[in-house]
């Protein structure tokens, strides 16, 4: 879509950042639950909080807030959407 898209790893997530799930690897151990929670290919979300120690992060996805660990979103391929207008944390 946007020309600003670039591939992200979960380590890059910062407060206020917008990202989109570009793909999932269903075979991974932790993936099915993430699918059930609504993190699907094409789903966009915004990072609302990063815990003081860097992890977990809270995201706003499908109108609700969900805290996940960065290390446990490995099955999601993420791309960043330009992070505009958001107040940086």
């Amino acid at each position: 879509m946007s020309s600003q898209e670039k591939v992200l790893t979960s380590k890059d997530l910062r407060t206020g950042m917008r990202a989109r799930v570009a793909g999932v690897e269903e075979g991974q151990e932790l993936c099915p639950r993430l699918l059930e929670l609504g993190l699907l290919p094409g789903t966009e979300f915004r990072v609302t909080k990063v815990a003081p120690l860097g992890c977990p992060v809270e995201i706003d996805v499908r109108g609700y807030r969900l805290c996940l660990r960065k290390s446990e979103t490995g099955c999601l391929k993420l791309v960043s959407l330009e992070d505009q207008e958001e107040i940086a944390g």
């Binding site: 639950r33 929670l37 609504g38 815990a51 120690l53 109108g63 609700y64 446990e72 944390g89």
Partner: protein
């Protein structure tokens, strides 16, 4: 499904945090604790609900994200719902989080259920300028939808009417989520293939088999290789090489949920930051958030020490008054007098005196939980607990364990996977429970406070609560490597909006906790007090036995202790328990414990609370006790080794406190560990590793102390 003559069964089903428990309370009137962290209703709770024409049984099914269970709790929930069956499902739909909540709803349609929807959290959306089209939602879902605000009772009569209608005139939930045509065609072909070969397979089942290789229906074909080939072929046709069936399934359901939301809900209009978000900017801030957390924890433990003091003095005074009142009445039978005064009143009273502190601690836990801060604490602490194999959710069981390990061990059920659950159960008893408080308070009050003042006393109490926590970290780290059971689940948590705690819930928590505590004091502690008294009183020595020994003492010693006091001490030393304590004194001597402390520790193995009454009896009561100061503190300060060295130095009292911090002296906890892990092996393991740790640590501390003070 269920015979019609019996009372109808209604199952409350929904996502965690959807407001299920509140609705359950509103329907049944039977009270249950509601909380903000996930999985409060892990245990199956049932109640009765009076509808207009009939009474029905209501089952509060544990919160679920999906009917494909991944955790033990979800297995319980799905089996309650699908195996036991229900005449009616009341689906609790969180109106503020409708898409995710509709995902589970869409799965209900695969199981021939009779459903009514209770729409909760409508007030949250309304307040931010959004709105619902209930009629439209009802049409789209194909069932009655009743908006409710359970804790205010709003919508409850309407919901009951809807439930009655649905029970009288049941309909099976039918839903067309709109799976891609290629999926439905393949399912059609597959069902046809099986049916022609005499195997019953419905369309929905066929779809499940196609999209999810773990689908339970697929198990039916495990031993029929010729059919598996057919399934594989259709799977390839639908999914191509990727094989991502569950993604396809979730995408179809979420696409449907999104359509439903767009058609029936006007989203929030004012986008300005909510009060909770503003608060969180501070409370989860990387610097202030952590400082606030630490400060708050410090405040909690300081106030336990400070606020409880006057109440404890009051109870102490009451105990003395009671003893003084009862004592003369039993003058004629010294044995009974001693049993009642020294055994029962002293024993039970010395435990009862800690009630104020337990109430204060539970008050803080209940308030923090009620406001939503506990979930933030889990958010803040996850990284810290996570690297060694636990997660932020363990914070809740671990924090509860600071009150009592038993609810803590039971609260470990909120851990979503077996492994972290077991780890939590094993280390929860290391947290400093309130039963350890008496020992800390006694020793800090007797030894540390007089020497260093109240500020250091408060700090010492604070520090003692961290000993177990710090020791737990390497333990978890090691155990995590050794245990390899259960499948891993992602850590997930939702931070609820901040709110004022519901004072009724706080009050109910406090009363129920206090009741449990007093029951223990009234039964186990009572019995143990009597037993210890007896073991310390018998066998009785003849009067005058110790006269010669006393006369042989140096003049200096004689000036410190009267003959009667000496005889009493020697009598205890020669009692059954005293002899046993003295036999094994050498084992504990390196830790700085004499036979009296050793004996008290032995007596306290079934329940650590017993140690204080035991020490009270063992240290005896001198004749020349000051009016103002508690007897036990005085006699502990005065206690010496036989050679006159003071028994309780700062180091030996720290050693003793650390011993109590780490030792597993609680039968009830071990029983809880056994129950939760379903094996005595883990209970024995808990006891073994904790006792070993306690012994090693207290010996090391005392030896350091001896070296330093030389």
């Amino acid at each position: 499904m269920v015979e019609t003559s019996a009372k109808k069964r209604v199952a409350l089903v929904g996502n965690p945090n959807a407001g299920k428990t509140s609705l359950f309370n509103a329907l049944t009137g039977l009270h249950q604790k509601t909380g903000n962290y996930p999985g409060v209703t892990v245990e199956k709770s049932e109640g009765e609900c009076q509808l207009t024409f009939q009474k029905v049984d209501v089952v509060d099914v544990p919160g679920l994200y999906s009917l494909t269970p991944v955790s033990t709790d979800e297995e319980v929930a799905t089996s309650v719902l699908l195996d036991e069956g229900a005449d009616l499902v009341v689906y609790v739909l969180d109106g503020s989080n409708i898409e995710r909540n509709l995902f589970l709803f869409s799965q209900l349609a695969d199981h021939d259920l009779n459903v009514v929807v209770a729409l909760t959290m409508t007030d949250i959306l309304m307040r931010s300028g959004g709105d619902f089209d209930i009629a439209r939602l009802s049409t789209l879902l194909g069932v009655e939808v009743v908006p409710v605000i359970p804790h205010k009772g709003i919508g409850i009569p309407e919901l009951k009417e809807a439930m009655e209608r649905a029970i009288e005139d049941p309909h099976t939930l039918e839903l067309d989520v709109g799976f891609p045509k290629v999926v439905m065609d393949a399912a059609d072909r597959l069902a046809d293939h099986m049916n022609r070969r005499g195997i019953a397979l419905g369309l929905r089942e066929a779809r499940c088999v196609l999209l999810d290789e773990h689908c339970t229906t697929a198990d039916r074909f495990r031993d029929l290789p010729e059919h598996i080939a057919a399934i594989e072929e259709e799977r390839k046709a639908v999914l191509g090489a990727s094989g991502q069936g569950r993604t396809l399934d979730a995408q179809a359901r979420y696409a449907w949920a999104e359509r439903v939301r767009k058609e029936s809900i006007l989203p929030p209009q004012n986008k300005k930051r909510s009060k909770s978000e503003i608060a969180d900017a501070f409370l989860t801030h990387r610097v202030f958030g952590l400082l606030f957390f630490l400060g708050l924890m410090y405040l909690v433990f300081q106030s336990i020490y400070t606020f409880a003091a006057p109440l404890m003095d009051l109870i102490e005074a009451g105990k003395t008054a009671l003893a003084n009142w009862v004592s003369p009445m039993l003058e004629s039978t010294p044995m009974v007098q001693s049993l009642v005064v020294d055994g029962v009143i002293e024993g039970v009273g010395s435990v009862f005196v800690f009630l104020p502190q337990i109430v204060i601690l539970f008050f803080f836990i209940a308030v923090l939980e009620g406001t939503g801060y506990l979930a933030r604490a889990a958010f803040l602490m996850d990284k810290l607990l996570g690297w060694c194999g636990l997660n932020g959710r363990a914070f809740i069981p671990l924090l509860s364990s600071f009150a009592c390990a038993i609810p803590g061990v039971m609260a470990a059920r909120v851990m979503p996977d077996q492994r972290s659950r077991l780890l939590t159960v094993l280390v929860a008893p290391l947290m400093s429970c309130s039963a350890r408080l008496p020992v800390y308070l006694l020793l800090i009050g007797a030894i540390i406070e007089p020497k260093y003042g109240p500020a250091w006393a408060g700090f010492a109490l604070f520090a003692m609560h961290f000993v177990g926590l710090i020791v737990a970290i390497p333990i978890v780290f090691i155990l995590n490597r050794k245990i390899s059971k259960g499948r891993r689940l992602p850590f997930m948590l939702e931070l609820p909006k901040y709110q004022w705690p519901k004072w009724r819930d706080v009050f109910l928590t406090l009363t129920s906790r206090s009741k449990v505590f007093l029951q223990t004091a009234g039964t186990i502690i009572f019995a143990m007090s009597v037993l210890i008294w007896a073991l310390l009183t018998f066998p009785q020595a003849k009067p005058g036995t110790y006269q010669k020994e006393y006369e042989a003492l140096s003049v200096e010693r004689q000036s410190q202790i009267s003959e009667d006091e000496f005889a009493e001490l020697r009598q205890r030393e020669d009692s059954a328990l005293g002899r046993f304590g003295r036999t094994i004194e050498p084992v504990f001597a390196p830790a700085g414990f004499d036979w009296r402390i050793t004996t008290a520790i032995l007596a306290a193995f079934p329940a650590r609370e017993v140690v204080v009454p035991a020490m009270g009896i063992l240290f005896g009561t001198g004749a020349d006790v000051d009016e103002g100061s508690p007897k036990m503190v005085q006699s502990m300060q005065k206690a010496t080794w036989p050679d006159g060295r003071p028994l309780m130095t700062v180091w030996s009292s720290i050693s003793l406190m650390v011993f109590f911090a780490l030792c597993c002296q609680c039968m009830a906890t071990l029983a809880a560990v056994k129950r939760e892990t379903n094996s005595w092996k883990w209970a024995a393991f808990s006891f073994g590793y904790m006792t070993t740790l306690a012994y090693i640590f207290s010996v090391v501390i005392n030896q350091i102390g001896l070296a330093v003070s030389k």
